[in-house]
């Protein structure tokens, strides 16, 4: 009995050591980002390196709003990503409900097509999108990017929603319809409120995709007033002198919405993601 306990203890110890090393590998870069952001410009490149600067300064966090058009980038990102998320959620909830409740000709093809779109390299769409948006005068507009982002998110969101709706018993629909509800009303008033966890997971996914996206936003926007956050931050990298503290402050601010969102909804998110992926 004691040898088993010693073996368990050793095993736990080893697990902790591995977990701690892995966590350091993640935390050190992240904390260095925070440390740099809190430094004064003259201290950023001082040697020896200091984890805690002699003078902690929040100037970077103020400067990004005052001296760069960061507020504008932020507003653009919020508007584009929010609109794209809402549209994508609406369409994919409808399609997810349709595929989970009805059998119709071409359903299998539709579902395979959704999966296939995950295989398409997005770079494949870059050149045609550029040309098509250009012909419609949608380069450098919010609408252009919204269209791009819903095309990215609808397929996977539909899978996620379908997985979630399948977990809601069909008897509920039947009961509502016997009570005289129409299909649409059953969906909106009975099933949707029950799907809140699934909807929020899907919304996070769509938000994450849009908030992160760089390549399309980089190519499809040209004027300063249309740029999204990733494009804006990456641009700080191109200046003659890189202000690392400002860039790190901007990085932290742009990551916060995702981290906060995820912390609140992670339980739903993980189970829906795997449900969508595995089924």
């Amino acid at each position: 009995m004691t040898t088993i306990r010693i073996r368990m203890l050793l095993l736990n110890l080893c697990s902790y050591i591995v977990l701690i090393i892995a966590s350091l590998f993640v935390l050190i870069p992240s904390l260095w980002m925070a440390s740099t952001a809190l430094k004064r410009s003259e201290d950023v490149m001082s040697t020896p390196l200091k984890w805690i600067p002699d003078t902690v300064s929040f100037n970077s966090f103020i400067r990004i709003w005052k001296e760069y058009p960061f507020a504008e980038y932020f507003a653009n990102s919020v508007f584009i990503v929010f609109t794209a998320t809402v549209i994508s959620l609406l369409f994919s909830a409808l399609a997810g409900y349709g595929t989970s409740r009805f059998n119709f000709r071409g359903k299998g093809t539709f579902l395979t097509f959704l999966l296939m779109t995950q295989m398409f390299p997005s770079i494949m769409l870059l050149i045609p999108f550029y040309k098509v948006l250009k012909s419609f005068g949608l380069i450098d507009t919010h609408l252009g990017l919204i269209l791009v982002y819903i095309s990215f998110t609808i397929p996977f969101c539909t899978w996620m929603m379908m997985g979630y709706f399948q977990s809601i018993p069909k008897e509920l629909d039947k009961a509502a319809m016997i009570d005289g509800c129409s299909r649409l009303r059953t969906f909106v008033q009975i099933i949707l409120p029950l799907s809140l966890p699934g909807l929020s997971a899907t919304a996070i996914y769509a938000f994450l995709v849009g908030w992160n996206e760089y390549m399309f936003a980089f190519i499809l926007t040209t004027s300063e007033s249309m740029k999204t956050i990733p494009v804006g931050i990456a641009q700080l990298n191109g200046f003659y002198k890189i202000e690392w503290n400002d860039m790190m402050a901007a990085s932290i601010v742009s990551s916060l919405p995702l981290i906060v969102l995820f912390l609140f909804l992670q339980k739903y998110f993980i189970s829906s993601l795997t449900a969508g992926a595995v089924k």
Binding site: N12, V18, L19, A22, S23, F25, V26, L27, I28, P29, S30, W32, M33, T36, L49, F91, L94, G98, R101, F102, N103, F104, R105, F113, M116, M119, F120, P121, I123, M124, L125, L126, I127, P128, F129, Y130, V132, K134, I150, S151, I154, Y214, M215, I229, P230, I233, A234, N237, W244, M247, M248, S251, S254, L258, I259, I270, L273, T274, A277, V278
Partner: protein
């Protein structure tokens, strides 16, 4: 009764219609249009010279693009391999329900929550030859004697990029595997224990088969995602030094938007599409085979 089922058919279509129309316009059409562009020498405005398959001929007649594909494959295999080893290992540890595992889980997910641009810039700063943290510690522990310029040195740039991409992507695998592990019933392990299985044996005969569907789906998605990856590598090296990290998406981007050879770039994208489809097909065959 028949009437009702007839009605449901139509209702089904109505629910799916908005998505289908959107995807037809925003995915299918651009995809076909991209293939169309690949047959032209074009500036996308007034010059549209039909050249048939000659872009494809050029691409395959010239070793450069094949080299890029090779670099991309090497990059993808190493990155995805890293995700799997680290993600699977950590997921198994996190599944052991040790005290404090929630904290570890929260920390280890972090790279996945950072936008790709942030990851690219952060690591560019960490790998800075003069003021970067990496060189600072390597110096301190006497592992190097002169500063290494990680991202512009031909010998190490590729590996530096791979490490960063592993850092960014392993949490996704870890989450998927963790969720997969939690679907395997405890009873199976109990039964195995009673039958006298060792830990290794229960891993081999219960954990692995139970995880197989999750592992294969993650493998497909992760491979395709990283095969077509752009942002992190672009921000770190822009494909340099000496094309060491010039993966296909960067090459396509440069051909189109730096050299304005849209037709040729579109042709390369079509080839990438085929490679990705092939990867998906091969994995799917594996998946179906193992389900039998």
């Amino acid at each position: 009764m028949k009437e009702l089922s007839g009605k449901t058919h139509i209702s089904g279509y109505l629910f799916v219609l908005p998505s289908i129309v959107t995807l037809m316009l925003l995915v299918t059409y651009p995809l076909l249009y991209g293939m169309y562009i690949s047959f032209f020498n074009t500036n996308l405005l007034n010059q549209w010279d039909f050249v048939g398959f000659s872009h494809y001929g050029d691409i395959f007649g010239n070793l450069e693009f094949l080299q890029r594909i090779f670099v991309t494959l090497k990059f993808t295999v190493l990155t995805v391999g890293g995700h799997f080893v680290i993600g699977l290992g950590l997921a198994i540890l996190l599944n052991r329900k040790l005290p404090g595992q929630t904290l570890f889980r929260a920390i280890l997910i972090l790279p996945w929550l950072l936008p790709e641009v942030v990851v690219g810039l952060l690591w560019k700063w960490l790998l800075n030859p003069m003021y970067g943290l990496t060189n600072h510690y390597l110096f301190k522990f006497n592992l190097i004697s002169a500063p290494v310029s990680w991202l512009s040195n031909v010998d190490v740039a590729f590996w530096a990029v791979v490490v960063v991409c592993i850092w960014k992507g392993f949490p996704m695998l870890m989450l998927m595997v963790l969720a997969g592990l939690q679907t395997i019933s405890e009873d199976l392990y109990e039964a195995a224990k009673i039958d006298g299985c060792t830990g290794v044996q229960s891993f081999r005969f219960i954990t692995l088969p139970g995880l197989l569907p999750v592992l294969l789906v993650s493998l497909i998605l992760d491979t395709v995602w990283w095969f077509k990856h752009f942002t992190v590598v672009w921000l770190l090296t822009q494909g340099g030094p000496a094309n060491e990290t010039n993966i296909v998406s960067i090459d396509i981007y440069k051909s189109a938007f730096e050299f304005f050879e849209f037709g040729k770039a579109a042709a390369m994208a079509v080839i990438v599409l085929f490679v990705c489809t092939l990867i998906g097909y091969v994995y799917r065959r594996m998946l179906n085979h193992d389900n039998d």
